[in-house]
Each structure stands twice: as structure tokens, then as C-alpha cells.
């Protein structure tokens, strides 16, 4: 599973708030230089996981390790090499970009002031306005710029594009990609922008109600999920269709009239042929799916968490 060399390890993590279990025995690892997208509906437990990962919250059980060190116990040392962009920007509202740069330059072991200034100019964030007066997108860009200028080995981004317009979202992703190209940073990102992350993430983890239910490579996930559409034979009942679909791990099935519209987790050629015969299918089509479609199929039925 995870090796000691993996810069980011979550090991049987559980987090409880009173009686509510927010994170339930979650384990995953991100190897060096890879991008891991942690997905899930609101309240699935992503933020709590991240909180523990960066040593800001104490785990109820299990542990998190960054760069080989326990997140809770060694937070101070870890943060020398880890950058965190939280969901809600937490830059002190009275600090301008320049003041923030000055402050971080004094407290971080690595600080690339030139890169910081260049990036701010590139993304057009005003340098002397207090952070409280910046727009949400500008604040996010500022946060990302501040984090990247410290040249971290691991980057943790909690929903970095939440609430941003399409233009800013693109710019932010471009900056992230640029960072990946330049320094091969290990990245953990949670997001609802599935289209945006689709091209970037190497691995995908999907959390549902506190548990990690899928943990695969992006390519693997996209390679195996397919959308099947066909028309069932006149003599076939709906129940037969569902039974025939079962071995292919259907994630979502819609039966409208004689039409069948199913999203399948493991459709292979043999199974397809068998299925076609079983229900006397006609006009069968098999399509690939976007990450978003896969996600909605997997998580669409559950209740949105708190």
C-alpha cells in the first residue's frame, strides 16, 4: 500500500465530533510528484481529513503523515515544506500582499520573493490593497501565490476554485499546472470542479459519509466506467434487465419504456455479449464517461451530509 517514501499518508484515520463520525477508517497515500483528487459530496469528510492531515485537528484514531513525520506531533517542522490553501481564505484581512510577503519571508525557511511578485503580477492581484478588500478570487490567487513562493514539497488544496468564476478558475489551474511542471510537487486537492481536475489528477479518491469508497488512478477509473444504452427485447422484463446488468457493477440504471440507460463499473466484452443475449438487446451503444458523470453516478443517491 503506502511506502515510507510516500510524502503524504493517511493511515486508518477516524475523526469524531461527539457522536458523529466524520471520517471513518480512511487510508490512502500519495506518491511523490503525484496529484491526488479527493472527491465527495458536501459533508463527506474531506475537510476533516485535511484538517488532520495538516496537523490542525487531532485524529480520533489512526494517524496522518507528511514527509514521513506525524502530522499532529511534528506540525511545525512539517509546515516548513508543506503549503496549505484552505477552503476559506484565512489571510489576515489587514495585510496587503506586500506585507504578507514580508511576513512570510521572515518566518519561512524558503521564500522566493521574485517568484511571488511575478506571480502576483501575472494573475493581476493588487499588491498594496489589504487582503480584506480583495475579491474572493484575488484572495485565492494571493493565497496560492504565497504558498507557492515558499517552494513546498507537498501542496494541499482544499477546494481551491470554490465560488470562483470560470476565468479565475482557469488561471488558478494554470498556476497549479505550472507549479507541477516546474517542481513536481506532490499535491492533494479536494474540489467540486470535476471538469477542471479531470485532466490534472493522477489518482482519485471518493469519500462517502466518512468512508473512502474508491481509491484508483484517474486513467483506471475512466477506463472501466462506461455508459451503456440499448433497447431491451420485447419479451424481456425490467427485472431481467437488472439481473443481467448485475455482474457488470452497475452504478446507476434508468429504464424508460423499452430503453435501458446504465452506467457500468466493469463492463468487459464477454459480459457485454452475455448481456446482449440475455435481454435480447438492440441498438447497443457503449460510451466513455467524464469524471463528473462517473461521480454523479456513484454518489448521486446518498444524502448530502452536514
Amino acid at each position: 500500500m503506502s511506502t515510507n517514501a510516500d510524502p503524504l499518508v493517511v493511515d486508518h484515520l477516524s475523526v469524531r465530533y461527539g457522536k458523529v463520525t466524520a471520517v471513518d477508517d480512511v487510508s490512502f497515500a500519495v506518491p511523490r510528484g503525484e496529484v491526488y483528487a479527493l472527491l465527495g459530496r458536501n459533508g463527506a469528510g474531506k475537510s476533516s481529513t485535511i484538517s488532520c492531515l495538516v496537523g490542525q485537528r487531532r485524529a480520533g484514531a489512526g494517524c496522518c503523515r507528511l514527509l514521513g513525520l506525524d502530522s499532529w506531533k511534528k506540525r511545525r517542522r512539517i509546515m516548513e515544506k508543506v503549503g496549505l490553501v484552505p477552503e476559506t481564505p484565512d489571510i489576515p484581512p489587514g495585510a496587503s500582499a506586500v506585507e504578507l510577503g514580508r511576513f512570510l519571508g521572515r518566518i519561512r525557511p524558503v521564500w522566493n520573493a521574485d517568484e511571488y511578485a511575478a506571480r502576483l503580477e501575472r494573475v493581476r492581484v493588487p499588491c498594496r490593497l489589504p487582503a480584506g478588500r480583495l475579491s474572493k478570487g484575488q484572495r485565492r490567487q494571493l493565497a496560492l501565490a504565497a504558498v507557492l513562493a515558499a517552494e513546498p514539497e507537498v501542496l494541499v488544496l482544499d477546494d481551491p476554485t470554490l465560488g470562483l468564476d470560470a476565468v479565475v478558475r482557469r488561471t488558478l489551474l494554470e498556476e497549479l499546472v505550472g507549479e507541477l511542471a516546474d517542481r513536481g510537487t506532490t499535491v492533494l486537492v479536494t474540489t467540486h470542479d470535476l471538469m477542471g481536475i479531470e485532466g490534472i489528477a493522477d489518482r482519485v479518491g471518493i469519500m462517502q459519509q466518512g468512508r473512502l469508497v474508491y481509491d484508483e488512478t484517474m486513467d483506471g477509473l475512466k477506463a472501466r466506467f462506461r455508459r451503456l444504452r440499448c433497447v431491451r427485447g420485447d419479451a424481456t422484463a425490467e427485472a431481467d434487465v437488472e439481473a443481467a446488468l448485475a455482474p457488470m457493477e452497475p452504478a446507476a440504471v434508468r429504464l424508460v419504456g423499452a430503453g435501458v440507460d446504465a452506467i457500468l463499473g466493469r463492463p468487459n466484452d464477454a459480459a457485454i455479449t452475455e448481456f446482449t443475449t440475455l435481454i435480447d438487446a438492440r441498438e447497443l451503444e457503449l460510451e466513455p464517461l467524464s469524471l463528473e458523470e462517473i461521480f454523479v453516478a456513484l454518489c448521486g443517491n446518498e444524502e448530502e451530509g452536514v
Binding site: G55, R58, M79, P92, A95, E99, R108
Partner: protein, 645 residues
């Protein structure tokens, strides 16, 4: 270190607006004199008054606001994560923020004061204003609350803010622990209020406040380091830290106060009060290092060194140890509460006497306790009522209310069934000072006799050692005249008259001699009479303002205190102490700078004086006025306690 400084600067930067507000506020005292409503007072006074008003309202307010928000708001608004995502330790974050807040508070205070200071003739006075309670009371410097007070407000506001935001069940723990600490402090210190030793209470109070300060500092650090972004966890860490520190501090107080009360005679620095009982028992009381203003008291046997504790209060003359005349029992009052006291009893005849609670409680001020000769009965005055009790077991035998102008002052057992009551005239109808009236209470029949002719009387009645005569002074109301007479105890017949007095005098019995200290127009002198009332010596001191008894040194020597008003040569009043030899009637030497006030006195209010001479000489050796205690088995000198007058 660099990171710490950077954080401090950042936090100060974030709240620059406060300094601007302080600058505006600093103008208020300057502008105040320009207002028409301030009247004709000098501008400097107006400025100062307004300045203190502004400082004392604004600074605590700022401290309150800063305290509630400097960590709390960051927690609520999820901004503390900014610091936690940096390579900064929890302690750096806490103490960095705290240092920034301290700077802001002190800076705002100074800024507010600055214009007024600049315009005042003595600017530095504002930094350490005059202490209204006097400059010699070291715990009440006014600068302390001015500069450290806001920090305590800040820390308390922070603690309360955390508890408030956490909304966890730990508030219950906080509440219970708070009660426990307060209760614990009261248990440890409260009784010292009854003992009227505010020094102990003060030290205890400041000890707790100091540890509260430390506790809040440590608690805040724990909250940040252990709780981080989790407010509930932080509250828990803070509560555990603060209360464990305070509970330990309370335990320390318990230990200290236990140790205070557990004093032994060896712990006395000096003997401030020495009371002579009969035979070998004495009472000794004095200060002890490490016990603040609590003066332990012991009843000690000078022959064999046995001792037990008899702590008392300074309040209301509760200090008296009352010995029975036969030396078998000693009683004293121990404070039970504000105003009430219990009677403590010790039987001196037993092997290891100890003070024990008799069970007799006096709800109000009880005074002039007197034991019967055998120590079985107690007479006491409460208000205008005289009461007589049996001690073992405690039973009230009789009570008599003395109404009218004369209120009871002194009681004495004539015998086990008869109590003499001396009442003093409180109406000031007569020209004589201290007019007394005698009445007798029959214990068996519970009957109070009528009053006799009022007379002037001295504080203690004394009986000469030989001859069994009583010394009484009478006051003839018709002639407005006071006479001193000697009366035979058995027959009640007048034995001798020692002369008329027209002014206040003092008498002392030493051995079998009677000394009368008199002062009249011709000056002050001491008359020495023998047991039959015959004048044997007279020592004159010339013109003095007052002459008084300064106490015995040995059997034959006493100190006479002479008070003189100022003269042209020596403008200020002076006190002189002269030693006279009673046997020869010779004035021997003068003690320089020796202020005789109480000396050694024979306590006990039975109608007699004891032979203090032999006992006093055993205790006092040499000219240095010390209390010597020997090990009776080996004769080795064990302890020397200086006797301070």
C-alpha cells in the same frame, strides 16, 4: 526568534486602528478645560481628572475587547489556521499574540496619557501615581493595577471567551472548579480574618492572583498547542491547566496556613507579650518569621518545658490568657466567626495539657473573663450582662443585667459563690473620671445586690502579700474626693489610709510593697508603702507631664516612665525611662530610648496579685530583658527569646 518578532509585528499591524483610537482619546483631557461646564478649576486639575477617567474606562475596555478577540475571533472565523499552516510552534503563536496585545495595551495607555503628561509639570508622576493607601504598604503600589491590571483583564476575557465559544460541557467543570478554588481559599485563609491578621490573608490573596495569572498564561498556551483549531479541545486543555495550577496553589496555601498554626515556641523571633500565670506557667506570644502578621501564642511550663498552643486574635482584647489562681486551669477565647468566639480550656494539672474547645460559645463580644480560684467557674461580661458559668460541664449558673448609668467593667470571684462586679459610669454626669460602683452577684441564689457608693477605682484591685489586706480606693461623691485605703480582708475594717488623690494615679504591688505613682502640681513622684500601709520611701521626679508604671525588671527594680511636654530647650515631647530600686527608694539609672509601655503584668482577675517577683527573676536574667527557658532534665539553656516592650 525572528519568527516570533515577525508574528508580534504582524499582530500589532493588524490592529493599528486601536492606536489611532487612543490618539483621539488622548485629546479628551486636553480639550476638557475648554468646555464651559468645567467651572473655575485649574486646567491642570481638570486635565488630570479627565485623564484618569478616560484611562480607567477605556483601557479596561480595550483589554476586554482584545482579550475576547485576539484568539477567539480568529478561532471563530477559521483564521487561526493561517498561523498553524506556517512553521510556527503553538507557543510562538500564543506568546507572540499575547506579546502583541500587551504592547498594544501599554501603548494605548501611554498614548492616552502623553499629551496630558507633556503639559504637566511632573510628567513621570502619571506613570506611578501616588498610592492612596500610603507608600509603605508594599503590596498596594498603585502602578501595579495600572499597568498589570489590564493584562489580567485581557487574560480573563480570553479565558471566558474561549469557554463561551466552545459551548462544551467543560463549562460545568469550570464552574465547579471555580467554587472549589474559592472554597479552598476560604478554608485556608478565612479563619485568619477572624484572627484579625489581614497580612496573612493579603499574602494568600496575592499568591492566588499571581498563580491565576500564571495559570491563564499556561492555559492559553495549552489551548493553542493542544486545541489548535478545535475550540472544544482547546477549552478542555485550558480548563485542565488553569484549574490544576490553581488547585495546587490552594493546596500550597493550606500547607502554609497549617504550618502557621503549627508553630512551636522555638519558632518565635521574640516575645512581644508575656503573661505570667501562677506557679510555673506563662503565656508567650510574638511574631514568627514566615508567618506574616500572625503571632502564635503558647502556654509554657518554665520548669519542665511542656507547652501547648493557645492562638488568639488581636481583635477586641481577646488576647488575654486567664489563669485560675490556684494554677490548675487556663482559659482563653478563640475566634469562631466574625464577632463570636468560643471558650478554650486547658487543665494545667494534667501530664500533657492541651487546649480544648469547651463548647461554650459567645455570640457577641465577651470581655473580662475571670476564673474562680479553683478554675471551676467562669465569670464574664457580655454587653451589660454579667454571666457565671460552670466549666465542666458547661452550664450557665447565673446571669445579671446591670442597668442604668453604670455598665459592668470588671468581675472577680470573691469566693466560688460570690462575684464582685465593678461598673463604670458611662453617663459623664460627674466630674470624676472613671467612677465605679461595686455590686455583688450571689451565684447560688442568683441575686444581684444593690450598688454601693460609687468610687474611683483602678484597673486592677490588688492584695498585699502579707497581712491579707485589700487595697481599695473610694470616692466621696459629696466631697468630690478620692481616698486610698487599706482594708483587712477578713474583717473588712479599714487598716490604713494612704492619702487623698486628686488626679489620676497608678498603683503596683511588688513583693510586699505597694507603689503609688502620683502626679500633681508639685510634679511626679513614686510613693513606696509597706504591707501595713506605712510610707517608707518617696522618689521625686520633678515636673513631668505624666508618670506611669513601666514594669518590673526584678524583685526590687521597676521602670518608671516619665512623659514630658516640650519645653523651650527641647521643643518636642519626650519619654524617659528611669529604673528605681524599690528596696532603697533610689533612682538608679536611665534607660535611653527605652519605651516602657506594658512591661510584664500579672494577668488574672481574681482579687489578688501574685508574687511575681520570684517568677519574674527566674525568667528575666541579666540586663538584656530576655526570656530564658531551660531544659529541666539537664539544666541546659534551650532557648532565649528577647522580650520586647
Amino acid at each position: 526568534m525572528r519568527a516570533f518578532v515577525a508574528l508580534v509585528i504582524r499582530e500589532i499591524d493588524e490592529r493599528k486602528a486601536l492606536l489611532a483610537a487612543a490618539a483621539v482619546a488622548s485629546l479628551l483631557p486636553v480639550l476638557a478645560p475648554l468646555l464651559p461646564s468645567t467651572g473655575p478649576n485649574p486646567a491642570a486639575d481638570i486635565r488630570e481628572a479627565v485623564l484618569w477617567f478616560v484611562v480607567l474606562t477605556l483601557v479596561p475596555l480595550f483589554a476586554l475587547l482584545l482579550g475576547a478577540t485576539f484568539v477567539g475571533r480568529d478561532l471563530s472565523e477559521a483564521r487561526l489556521g493561517f498561523y498553524f499552516s506556517q512553521p510556527l510552534s503553538g507557543l510562538t503563536i500564543w506568546f507572540g499574540k499575547l506579546a502583541a496585545m500587551m504592547f498594544l495595551i501599554w501603548a494605548t495607555e501611554l498614548i492616552i496619557m502623553l499629551p496630558t503628561m507633556v503639559m504637566a509639570p511632573d510628567p513621570f508622576r502619571f506613570l506611578a501615581p501616588d498610592d492612596p493607601l500610603g507608600p509603605y504598604d508594599p503590596l498596594w503600589y498603585a502602578w501595579l493595577p495600572l499597568w498589570l491590571g489590564p493584562l489580567v483583564v485581557l487574560l480573563l476575557s480570553h479565558a471566558v471567551g474561549v469557554a463561551w465559544r466552545a459551548r462544551s460541557a467543560w463549562v460545568v467543570v469550570d464552574f465547579i472548579a471555580f467554587l472549589a478554588v474559592c472554597g479552598g481559599a476560604w478554608i485556608g485563609l478565612g479563619s485568619f480574618l477572624f484572627f484579625f491578621t489581614p497580612g496573612v490573608v493579603k499574602i494568600g490573596f496575592f499568591w492566588l492572583v499571581g498563580w491565576l495569572f500564571v495559570g491563564l498564561l499556561a492555559g492559553g498556551a495549552a489551548q493553542i498547542a493542544s486545541g489548535r483549531v478545535d475550540v472544544r479541545r482547546g477549552h478542555r486543555a485550558m480548563s485542565l491547566t488553569v484549574w490544576s495550577i490553581l488547585l495546587v496553589a490552594v493546596l500550597c496555601i493550606w500547607s502554609w496556613t497549617w504550618w502557621i498554626r503549627a508553630a512551636a515556641p522555638i519558632d518565635l523571633d521574640e516575645a512581644r507579650q508575656v503573661a505570667l500565670g501562677s506557679a510555673e506557667w506563662i503565656g508567650v506570644r510574638g511574631p514568627s518569621t514566615g508567618r506574616a502578621d500572625f503571632q502564635p501564642r503558647f502556654v509554657m511550663n518554665t520548669a519542665d518545658g511542656r507547652w501547648f498552643r493557645a492562638h488568639s486574635s488581636d481583635l477586641w482584647d481577646m488576647q488575654d490568657l486567664v489563669f485560675s489562681r490556684d494554677g490548675s486551669r487556663v482559659v482563653w477565647l478563640a475566634p469562631a466567626n466574625f464577632g463570636s468566639s468560643t471558650l478554650m480550656v486547658a487543665d494545667l494539672d494534667t501530664e500533657n495539657p492541651e487546649g480544648r474547645d469547651s463548647g461554650l460559645v459567645f455570640e457577641t463580644y465577651a470581655r473580662d473573663l475571670t476564673l474562680s480560684t479553683d478554675g471551676e467557674r467562669l465569670a464574664v461580661i457580655q454587653g451589660s450582662t454579667v454571666m457565671v458559668f460552670d466549666i465542666e460541664p458547661v452550664t450557665q449558673l447565673a446571669a445579671a443585667q446591670i442597668d442604668g448609668d453604670f455598665s459592668p467593667q470588671f468581675v472577680a470571684f470573691e469566693d466560688d459563690d460570690r462575684v464582685r462586679i465593678e461598673s463604670i459610669d458611662t453617663s459623664n454626669k460627674h466630674s470624676a473620671e472613671n467612677l465605679f460602683q461595686t455590686r455583688f452577684l450571689d451565684v447560688e441564689e442568683k441575686r444581684l445586690s444593690d450598688g454601693d457608693e460609687p468610687r474611683i477605682h483602678f484597673r486592677r484591685m490588688s492584695v498585699s502579700h502579707e497581712g491579707g489586706s485589700s487595697l481599695i480606693s473610694t470616692y466621696d461623691l459629696s466631697k468630690d474626693e478620692q481616698r486610698l485605703i487599706l482594708v483587712d480582708e477578713d474583717t473588712g475594717e479599714q487598716v490604713a489610709e494612704l492619702g487623698k488623690m486628686t488626679s489620676w494615679s497608678n498603683i503596683r504591688v511588688i513583693g510586699n510593697r505597694l507603689l503609688v505613682f502620683r502626679q500633681n502640681d508639685s510634679g511626679g513622684h513614686v510613693e513606696i508603702f509597706d504591707g501595713a500601709g506605712v510610707l517608707i520611701h518617696r522618689v521625686d521626679f520633678g515636673d513631668v507631664g505624666a508618670i506611669f508604671d513601666g514594669g518590673e525588671i526584678t524583685e526590687d527594680r521597676i521602670v518608671v516612665g516619665l512623659w514630658s511636654w516640650g519645653s523651650d530647650e527641647r521643643p518636642s515631647p519626650s519619654l524617659e525611662s528611669v529604673i528605681i530600686n524599690v528596696a532603697d527608694g533610689v533612682s538608679e539609672s536611665t534607660l535611653d530610648g527605652y519605651a516602657p509601655m506594658m512591661g510584664l503584668w500579672a494577668t488574672g482577675t481574681s482579687a489578688g496579685a501574685w508574687d511575681t517577683g520570684a517568677l519574674a527573676s527566674r525568667i528575666l536574667k541579666g540586663e538584656d530583658h530576655t526570656l530564658h527557658l531551660w531544659d529541666p532534665a539537664t539544666g541546659v539553656l534551650k532557648q532565649i527569646i528577647p522580650v520586647v516592650q
